[in-house]
């Protein structure tokens, strides 16, 4: 069945051959309804096993017990069966949307089949491994078959940038702030769609967590699977190389007004005078991001809960260093193996407002949680959680 699915996809997408892959990242173990569980169990019953390294994206349940999911009994049981089925297929129980920070980093130029939109963007763009956007079912089918259809971003000629996204007219202080990058990513995704672009005009070299936030936002507002950053990502030592030596089809000069508009559109609750919760960690927080959170929090107690979503690879380190207990004492709710927009963790509360520093949470929270959102920097998120009211306009 796995090979049939891979071959049928190849036919639909016009690929005339399959290529061998070295690894996979599986987005398919998140429960959306019983059909996905039944599919995974059908693979298990057929005796299928993955033939390459396959890490797992988030599930619908926090198996570490840090947080509680409000799934009804039937859904909880089916979600649990689904996570078990993917383990039985031989996948690694990483349960994170940041597998690239949990030790799964395919080498430059290697062929892989990755799912989950932010993981795909990071894998292609920051690591320079080659994957298309593998969705649920195709990701596990490729991991079992050890093969993927040869089309799209697996091929060198399709990895060239065709659009230049020039941020040189934005001021440096803005580009140095963490709040800038989910906004730029959202804008980039909206104007670029599914094209490959190269971001130019940066005078700084962005940290990995910055590229992670940018890619996640771009892959939410558009269908961005690969972006280049001139001077920072491996296939873009400079703009001309990213363009494969050809002139761009379009050059977008990003203005302050475009950025301000994109930032405004990330929030759906701008007039809010109180907040009900803060959520950070989409993609899952790294150790460095937890360090930044602890520095801003300074051991203070929170007036509203701050949900910090991460993977068990980071949770282990937090526990080892005693930080988990400190954070929980302040009122931080650590969420591992899953996150607050993919499964019901936030309390049901009509008219509630969620503050977040994640472009991806800002994008999906209104439809998936019912909360309206206020987008802000990490510093603003922490101060707002301490006071329970929006503290916007702080220096970050």
């Amino acid at each position: 069945m796995a090979m049939r699915i891979v071959a049928e996809t190849a036919r639909v997408m016009g690929a005339d051959r399959l290529l061998a892959i070295e690894s996979a990242h599986i987005d398919g173990a998140l429960y959306h309804g019983d059909s996905g569980t039944l599919f995974a169990e059908k693979l298990v019953e057929g005796g299928a096993r993955v033939s390459v390294r396959a890490t797992l994206n988030v599930g619908a349940i926090d198996l570490t017990g840090c947080s509680r999911t409000r799934l009804p009994e039937h859904e909880h049981a089916m979600a649990s069966r689904m996570m078990a089925a993917y383990r039985q297929l031989g996948c690694e129980p990483t349960w994170t949307c940041a597998p690239y920070q949990a030790g799964h980093r395919p080498r430059l130029g290697s062929q892989v089949a990755w799912g989950e939109s932010n993981a795909v963007a990071f894998c292609n763009s920051v690591l320079g491994a080659r994957t298309n956007r593998y969705g649920d079912f195709l990701d596990i089918a490729c991991a079992i078959a050890g093969r993927a259809p040869d089309y799209g971003l697996h091929r060198t000629e399709n990895r060239a940038a065709t659009v230049v996204f020039d941020v040189s007219s934005l001021d440096e202080a803005f580009l140095n702030a963490d709040v800038a990058w989910p906004v730029l990513g959202t804008l980039y995704g909206r104007v670029i769609g599914n094209a490959v672009g190269v971001l130019t005009g940066l005078r700084i070299r962005p940290r990995e967590d910055i590229l992670k936030a940018f890619g996640a936002a771009a892959a939410s507002s558009g269908s961005v699977a690969l972006f280049h950053v001139a001077g920072a990502t491996p296939e873009a030592p400079d703009e001309a190389t990213a363009l494969h030596g050809r002139p761009p089809i379009e050059r977008i000069r990003v203005t302050r007004e475009m950025v301000a508009d994109a930032q405004r559109r990330l929030s759906t609750a701008e007039a809010a005078d109180r907040i009900d919760a803060v959520a950070i960690g989409s993609p899952h927080l790294s150790v460095e991001e937890f360090d930044a959170l602890r520095t801003l929090l300074r051991g203070r107690s929170l007036a509203v809960p701050l949900y910090a979503c991460t993977g068990r690879h980071v949770l282990r380190l937090l526990e080892r260093d005693g930080h988990r207990a400190d954070l929980e004492r302040s009122g931080v709710i650590i969420v591992a193996d899953t996150c607050v927009v993919v499964t019901p963790i936030l309390p049901e509360k009509p008219g509630a407002v969620l503050m977040t520093n994640s472009g991806k949470f800002a994008h999906y929270a209104p439809s998936n949680t019912g909360y309206s959102v206020l987008y802000a920097s990490l510093a603003e998120c922490v101060e707002s959680a301490v006071t329970g009211t929006p503290q916007i306009g702080l220096q970050s």
């Binding site: 996809t9 795909v120 269908s223 209104p366």
Partner: protein
């Protein structure tokens, strides 16, 4: 009126009201898998239902879980009557490929240039297994 599209995924012929989406959509986070309603508050057709309609999709964006939502819609009997895409999208169409593997009755998926979508919107159309769309 007869338009000639191409078959992406074979399935059941359909005659139903055409619904042209006026903005790109992410099925995950954008469509309620239980009801078929558009759940993305920023989408211009928020709260309209895609179930039982010939849905014309100019572009897909966002999450790679679109196939799971489409499979769940098929499984729950809330799928569109047919899907018409401007471009083949593996992430979405996988939902139909897997639905067929699981023995479910699947809607037809056709490819048709999005320049035709506005004139089809709201009309009763038939999607045929040879790729034709008649109105």
């Amino acid at each position: 009126m007869t338009l000639h599209g191409a078959v992406l995924i074979d399935g059941h012929e359909a005659a139903a009201e055409a619904m042209a989406l006026t903005a790109p959509i992410s099925f995950w986070g954008g469509v309620n898998p239980k009801t078929g309603e558009i759940a993305d508050v920023r989408h211009p057709q928020y709260q309209q239902c895609i179930s039982g309609r010939v849905v014309l999709i100019p572009a897909t964006i966002g999450s790679s879980s679109a196939a799971a939502v489409l499979l769940e819609l098929v499984h729950a009997g809330r799928a569109p009557a047919a899907l018409v895409l401007h471009e083949p999208d593996a992430i979405l169409l996988l939902g139909l490929i897997v639905a067929r593997e699981m023995g479910l009755a699947t809607p037809l998926a056709l490819k048709l240039d999005r320049t035709h979508y506005a004139e089809l919107h709201g009309r009763l159309v038939a999607a045929h297994r040879d790729g034709r769309i008649t109105a």
